[in-house]
């Protein structure tokens, strides 16, 4: 019918891009009397709208609207398809604890972390305040241990296809994994738990979720990172700022400057640029310490200490050797279990420097303590022996008191003798270890200046004038210091002053000048007996 | 109680120890027959019997104890001089030993019920003990009459009595020695108090109080003496303590008897206390006194042992058999000249003291000083431990291995010496090798020594053997043994036993003539067989020398021809020695009648095989008609390791025992000759059979010449053995070729320095082979 055709001219169907909705427009000129839901439905059908997509209620209302009004265009959504549900990847949900830490770290990084001086920032009162933030203690890293639970994982959702208003399928989209989980360091259990496989720092942002065994600090260790306490190796791309601390079980490598900070590692510590310790910087290593230069710092190396350019005003203790190959040592004190090799020793200004070679403080200190105890015990024993002797010479064998006194003295003497024997045994064990691990020798490549005192086990050598190298200063079989130049040995006293010295024998005493060494050794090469004896004496 | 109740170990110990004692006993008994006056020996025999009896009574072996006790009683009489040991007495004693032996065998076989000795034998022996030459009981010991059972086992286990009369040195630790002075005065004080109290015993009114006082005194004495561990005195003091407990219930008469014995005991203790101050103590036979003191205090003392009221303690001591020793004289003085010494009168009889007694006492006293038992108290005994033979065997095997390795090191040292240019290394290696060599040698000797035992172990049985033989054949034979202390390896002892028995029987049976025949020949009617042993270099030689009729060449020769061992013609060419050797061949017996002694058991050929094969020894015979025969057995000290010369033919090497090599020569052609087809070699004017190792051992290397001749001596016969090479001398460890059939004269195998195996040439077999070759050809 033409009328019907006419009506069609007033009707228009518009869809959205996804074909999920169809909106019917009824023109203002449309003959409202002819508009019935049925007519509209027929129209929509002619357009190919699927029966089940039709919203009959909307159609009815639209028709009513059109009838009620004229001269205005009316429209309504009359057909609805079903949008697809897109697929979801598996999702890692951190534990509450980790989430808390993440929030904390993010909150902090969003603050202005301008490195204001901590001294001005935190007065003691403020520190006591709970609101105060310890910027040193708050690490910027989430450190986890192997086996720690990190969170749970939700399984992936494949999604569901949708249907457009014409009955066509709208395929569900598979969204890509937003993050990749490193199965090397993170363990996904069958019951969807997530555990750390190894200790390290948690990488929780970016596209990779992992527990990195090596802590990579791209910039400085400072207010942005906080102190670092890490169960593995640490690589610092920048430097280590004043008063910050790195404590790691693996190698610690720092590319730039270490300031008045503290670094401790069970393995090597490598500072590519150098250490400017400002008298408080400390480095402790279980193995080697390597640095470009070291200034005003304390270094304690389990093995060697290798410095390329110079050592200035440092306290260095190395159980192995100290090697500054071609560089210079000025001021401070150095103690090495084995040889010390240096380019220039001392300075033209005759800065006092002390070199102690062939000594291992962890052994020499107990040895010195034993020596003191032994001397005391000896004195006591001879006192008692003298008393006993005088008592005996005047003794009346029938006097039970006198007999008892002699027996008590005898008993005390034998107790002391036993103790002396034990001290001697302990000392001998330490000496054996010293012989095994210590080797006194100082090699100077270029020059030694006056002001340097070189201590050996029983003597000190000091040069009153500059003396050019290369030469090696060591002890001969008799324990006398000798100078070896190109294989020619001669007594050191020909060119230097050799004085008796028993510094080593009394190391670690209360008035020791080597107080810097008296830090408690992490691992004693001596034996438990020694400290027992020390306590007894105290 | 049955044997099964005993710890088998205890029983085994008993069997071992007492078994040894029994063997010793037997040989000693035979010796005593020849020297009945040897009191040391009588004492020794008595002690052995006593010990056996003591252990047996501990094990409750009643039947064994009975016969041992009877024999001991008889011996005791001999010991005290009451009887002398003539042949009839010896027969009885030996019969007793036989019974003991049977009982031991039964024990060893685990039998519970031991054979009971013939009652007659027990009675006879006991009678011997009760007899005395003049009819008087010298010790007035009525208790020792036959059939009185009370004494059986009464002093069993009371070992110190076996050493009665000897003096021991008291050893105390310094702290106690320090107090001895106080001890002595305390003991003396206690004793004098005790004696005082004992005197008061007669007063029946105060007897109860006296008894209590005595008990307390005795108890304190026991405590004190026990503290010082002077067991001899403790025994007496304890006996006193016990005796004083029951005084109340005794009659007057009985109290008197207790008092007698108690006073006597006090006097013994007093004397001992005196000795103690010098730290010495004489061991006294106080067993009887203690026993009778006990009996008296129980009121059980037999009336015969009652003593007259006025008997003094000395007489009591004599009566109870203590005084012989109780008179112990200080060693510094000559005991025989002690004027104080008077034998106490025998209280039960009025007859004067019998003649033999003082003599005997003197003898005992005179013997006291050199008495080996007395010496034992001062010289520490050699310390010994029992080691299982198996352990020694394995030690010996290990030493064998060590010797092999030592040889190997030696060889390596030689190699190093030729190969290396490092003179230092060579020298060190050589020094080390030679040290190792020496040490190994020492170890070998030391280990061998652990297995060494004296031949006496074996010889001990023979006097009895000869004695029995003599008795049965009616001959008079004495066996003289020399060198019984020669030590040889245990295995040698074991292997040597049977052959020696056989050879001795042979000598006694066939060698020694009847007394009449000997007298007719102008010889002592009593024949002598000497068994002589001794070391000769690395060998042990045993000779059995009889002074009998000697071997008869004619008779043996005739028999040999009859048996087809040689022809009449050959016989004529043989030396006497060679003819005599025929008796060692199988089935050869010249006795017209096989006697039931030497004829039974093994034949001479078995003897020879035993000696040659098992002991690697040799047996030679020398004889002179009418004058006697000497059989010589020569055996190496040990059979496990020996020095040898290593020789080679082609690729095979052989070891020839070095002791059998007299020389090694490289003969010139003119030294070779032959008799018939048999090759011979001339050596310094003598011709000896020559054999080729290649032929004997059937070796293939036809082309390897044999330029060397090893001259081997065996049984005074020389044989040459041609070999290709002589490698050198080496200690070899013999590994038996068990289960391997021997091809040719081979006695075993050994491992060489280079690890290879060499065969050991059986010298005896080789020499025999040469002879048969020679004989058949000739």
């Amino acid at each position: 019918m033409p009328r019907e055709h006419d009506l069609d001219a007033h009707l228009q169907l518009r869809t959205d891009d996804d074909l999920v909705t169809g909106t019917l427009f009824i023109g203002p000129e449309a003959p409202s009397s002819e508009i019935t839901p049925h007519v509209l439905a027929v129209f929509l059908d002619s357009k190919g709208i699927a029966e089940r997509a039709l919203d009959r209620a909307a159609l009815k209302k639209l028709a009513a609207d059109a009838q009620a009004t004229s001269g205005v265009e009316v429209s309504a959504i009359v057909a609805r398809g079903r949008p697809p549900r897109h697929g979801q990847p598996r999702k890692l949900e951190w534990t509450a604890q980790i989430n808390e830490r993440i929030d904390e770290i993010e909150a902090r990084s969003s603050e202005d972390t301008d490195p204001h001086q901590p001294s001005s920032d935190a007065s003691p009162e403020e520190c006591a305040d709970q609101q105060a933030v310890d910027h040193y203690g708050h690490s910027a890293f989430i450190i986890v241990n192997g086996g720690d639970e990190l969170g749970t994982i939700s399984p992936p959702d494949p999604g569901e296809d949708g249907e457009d208003i014409f009955g066509g399928v709208i395929p569900a989209k598979q969204s890509p994994n937003p993050s990749y989980i490193d199965s090397e360091s993170i363990d996904l259990t069958e019951d969807n738990r997530v555990n750390a496989r190894n200790s390290g720092h948690l990488v929780y942002s970016g596209s990779l979720r992992s527990v990195a065994a090596t802590l990579e600090v791209p910039g400085d260790v400072g207010f942005a990172t906080g102190n670092i306490d890490f169960p593995g190796p640490v690589n610092v791309g920048g430097g280590v700022k004043d008063l910050f601390r790195i404590d790691a079980t693996g190698d610690v490598t720092v590319r730039r400057l270490v300031e008045a900070a503290s670094i401790s590692s069970d393995r090597d510590v490598i500072v590519e640029r150098g250490v400017a310790g400002r008298d408080t910087g400390q480095i402790r290593s279980g193995r080697d310490v390597r640095a470009g230069y070291v200034e005003s710092a304390t270094i304690n190396a389990g093995r060697d200490c290798i410095v390329q350019r110079e050592i200035t005003n440092c306290q260095i203790v190395a159980r192995g050797s100290i090697l500054i190959e071609s560089g210079a040592v000025r001021g401070g004190a150095m103690t090495a279990g084995k040889r010390i090799e240096v380019g220039v020793l001392g300075s033209a200004q005759e800065v006092p420097s002390e070199i102690l070679t062939g000594s291992i403080p962890e052994l020499d200190q107990p040895l010195a303590r034993i020596r003191v105890l032994r001397e005391r015990a000896d004195t006591k024993r001879s006192d008692l022996a003298f008393k006993l002797e005088s008592l005996r010479s005047a003794m009346d064998t029938s006097n039970p008191d006198a007999i008892e006194k002699t027996m008590a003295l005898d008993f005390d003497i034998s107790e002391i003798s036993t103790r002396i024997t034990r001290l001697d045994e302990a000392a001998e064990r330490i000496r054996v270890n010293l012989r095994k691990h210590a080797d006194a020798q100082l090699s100077v490549q270029k020059r030694i200046h006056p002001g340097v005192r070189i201590l050996f086990r029983n003597c000190a050598v000091r040069f009153e004038e500059e003396f050019d190298g290369p030469f090696t200063l060591k002890l001969d079989r008799e324990g006398e210091p000798v100078i070896d130049q190109h294989g020619n040995e001669r007594p050191a006293r020909e060119v230097a002053v050799v004085e008796p010295d028993d510094t080593l024998d009394y190391l670690g005493g209360p008035d020791s000048t080597h107080s810097v060494h008296s830090e408690q050794p992490r691992e004693s090469l001596g034996n438990g007996l020694v400290s027992d004896e020390g306590q007894q004496a105290a | 109680m049955s044997i099964s109740d005993f710890d088998p170990e205890i029983l085994q110990d008993f069997l071992t120890e007492s078994g040894e004692l029994l063997e010793q006993l037997e040989s000693d008994l035979v010796s005593i027959e020849a020297t009945p006056d040897d009191l040391d020996l009588v004492n020794q025999i008595f002690r052995a019997l006593h010990t056996i009896k003591g252990s047996a009574s501990f094990l409750a072996l009643t039947n064994l104890v009975e016969i041992a006790h009877a024999a001991e009683t008889a011996l005791n009489a001999a010991r005290t001089g009451a009887i002398s040991l003539g042949p009839p007495e010896m027969d009885l004693l030996l019969a007793a030993v036989d019974v003991l032996k049977v009982q031991f065998e039964q024990l060893g076989a685990g039998e519970v019920e031991l054979e009971k000795a013939d009652d007659r034998l027990v009675a006879d022996l006991t009678n011997l003990g009760g007899q005395s030459p003049d009819g008087a009981a010298p010790h007035a010991d009525p208790d020792a009459t036959p059939g009185t059972p009370t004494e059986i086992g009464s002093d069993a286990g009371d070992d110190p009595e076996a050493d009665a009369g000897c003096e021991r040195v008291i050893e105390l630790d310094p702290a106690k020695a320090d107090l001895v002075e106080h001890l002595v005065s305390d003991v003396q004080q206690s004793i004098s108090q005790m004696q005082m109290q004992l005197e008061r015993l007669n007063d029946s009114g105060t007897r109860s109080a006296t008894g209590t006082a005595l008990s307390e005194l005795a108890e304190d004495l026991v405590k004190t003496l026990d503290f010082f561990e002077i067991d001899e005195c403790v025994r007496i003091a304890s006996a006193l303590e016990r005796a004083f407990e029951g005084l109340d219930s005794l009659s007057e008469d009985q109290v008197v008897q207790v008092r007698h014995r108690a006073l006597a005991a006090c006097s013994v203790l007093g004397e001992q206390a005196n000795e103690l101050s010098d730290m010495r103590l004489t061991v006294r036979p106080t067993g009887t006194l203690i026993e009778r003191l006990g009996l008296a205090s129980n009121g059980d003392l037999p009336a015969q042992q009652f003593l007259a009221p006025d008997t003094d303690p000395r007489s009591v001591l004599a009566f109870d058999g203590v005084s012989a020793g109780a008179q112990g004289v200080p060693p510094a003085e000559s005991p025989a000249s002690d004027p104080d010494f008077n034998p106490p009168p025998a209280p039960a009889t009025d007859s004067p003291s019998p003649e033999p007694k003082p003599e005997l006492a003197r003898k005992q006293a005179a013997n006291a000083k050199p008495d080996p038992t007395a010496k034992r108290a001062q010289v520490p005994l050699e310390q010994t431990i029992r080691v299982e033979v198996g352990r020694l065997e394995s030690l010996m095997n290990l030493v064998g291995e060590l010797v092999l390795q030592k040889n190997r090191v030696g060889a390596l040292a030689d190699e190093v010496a030729t190969d290396s240019r490092n003179a230092d290394l060579i020298e060190q290696m050589e020094v080390t090798a030679s040290t190792l060599d020496r040490v190994t040698g020492d170890i070998q000797v030391a280990v061998m020594r652990t297995r060494m035992q004296p031949l006496d172990k074996l010889f001990g049985k023979y006097p009895r053997l000869i004695r029995d033989l003599a008795t049965k054949t009616g001959k008079q034979i004495q066996l003289v043994i020399e060198g019984g202390d020669t030590e040889v390896d245990k295995s040698v002892i074991e292997e040597l036993g049977d052959p020696l028995v056989h050879l001795l029987r042979n000598s006694a049976d066939h060698g020694i003539e009847m007394p009449g025949a000997r007298a007719d020949a102008g010889k002592d009617p009593k024949g002598t067989i000497r068994l002589v042993a001794g070391h000769e270099g690395s060998h042990v030689c045993l000779r059995i020398i009889d002074d009998g009729k000697g071997l008869n060449r004619e008779v043996i020769g005739r028999k040999a021809v009859q048996n087809g061992l040689c022809s009449e013609e050959q016989l004529a060419t043989l030396a006497d020695e060679e003819v005599f050797r025929f008796i060692l061949e199988a089935g050869f017996s010249t006795a017209d009648q096989v006697s039931d002694l030497s004829g039974r058991g093994v034949g001479m050929d078995v003897v020879r095989t035993n000696i040659e094969r098992n002991l690697k020894g040799s047996l030679t015979i020398e004889s002179e008609p009418g004058a006697g025969t000497t059989l010589t057995i020569t055996i190496p000290l040990t059979v496990a390791i020996m020095p040898a010369m290593m020789v080679a033919v082609g690729e095979d090497t052989f070891a020839i025992p070095l002791t059998n090599i007299t020389e090694i020569v490289r003969p010139t052609p003119d030294m070779f000759s032959s008799i018939g087809d048999s090759p011979m070699i001339h050596l310094r004017g003598q011709v000896h059979p020559l054999m080729s190792a290649r032929e004997i051992f059937d070796l293939a290397d036809e082309n390897d010449p044999e330029p060397f001749v090893v001259v081997i001596g065996f049984n005074q016969k020389l044989v040459g053995l041609r070999v290709s090479r002589v490698i050198g001398q080496q200690e070899i460890v013999i590994k038996p070729l068990d289960g391997v059939r021997r091809e040719g004269p081979i006695s075993g195998a050994t491992v060489r320095n280079d690890g290879g195996v060499s065969l050991i040439v059986d010298i005896a077999e080789l020499v025999r082979l040469s002879r048969s070759q020679h004989n058949t050809v000739a």
């Binding site: 039970p400 007999i403 008892e404 027996m407 008590a408 | 001890l183 305390d186 405590k223 004190t224």
Partner: protein, 122 residues
């Protein structure tokens, strides 16, 4: 092994205690005189007593005599001085098993103890 030390001197007891500890005996009771010891033996039930001779209140010999009336077997070692040596026999009769003379070395005391215990257990 329970051992009682009966001595009026603390020093002596300490010395004895140290010797006993070296020998591995740790159950030790101390008494300062014979009377004190008698009051403690029932509860402690010692396996060995070391008894000083000279003590106030009740001396060692009296203690031994009293103790032995009830207990015949527990080993007693008397600690004496040279002065009392002549009376040791008296102590032995009273029932001591061994004795040691002051001054003694720890070795000697330990030897005496071992020896006494060995003899008693034999």
């Amino acid at each position: 092994m329970r051992i009682m030390l009966i001595d009026d001197s603390k020093t002596m007891r300490n010395i004895q205690k140290s010797v006993l500890k070296q020998l591995g005996y740790t159950e030790i009771e101390e008494a300062c005189d014979g009377q004190d010891a008698l009051s403690k033996v029932a509860a402690f039930n010692p396996d060995l007593c070391l008894v000083d001779w000279n003590m106030p209140v009740m001396d060692g010999l009296t203690f031994v005599k009293t103790f032995r009336q009830k207990d015949k077997s527990t080993p007693l070692i008397m600690v004496t001085t040279e002065a009392e040596k002549s009376r040791v026999i008296e102590a032995i009769k009273a029932g001591v098993n061994n004795y040691v003379v002051k001054p003694f070395t720890p070795d000697l005391l330990s030897e005496r103890i071992t020896e006494t215990l060995a003899k008693v257990s034999a």
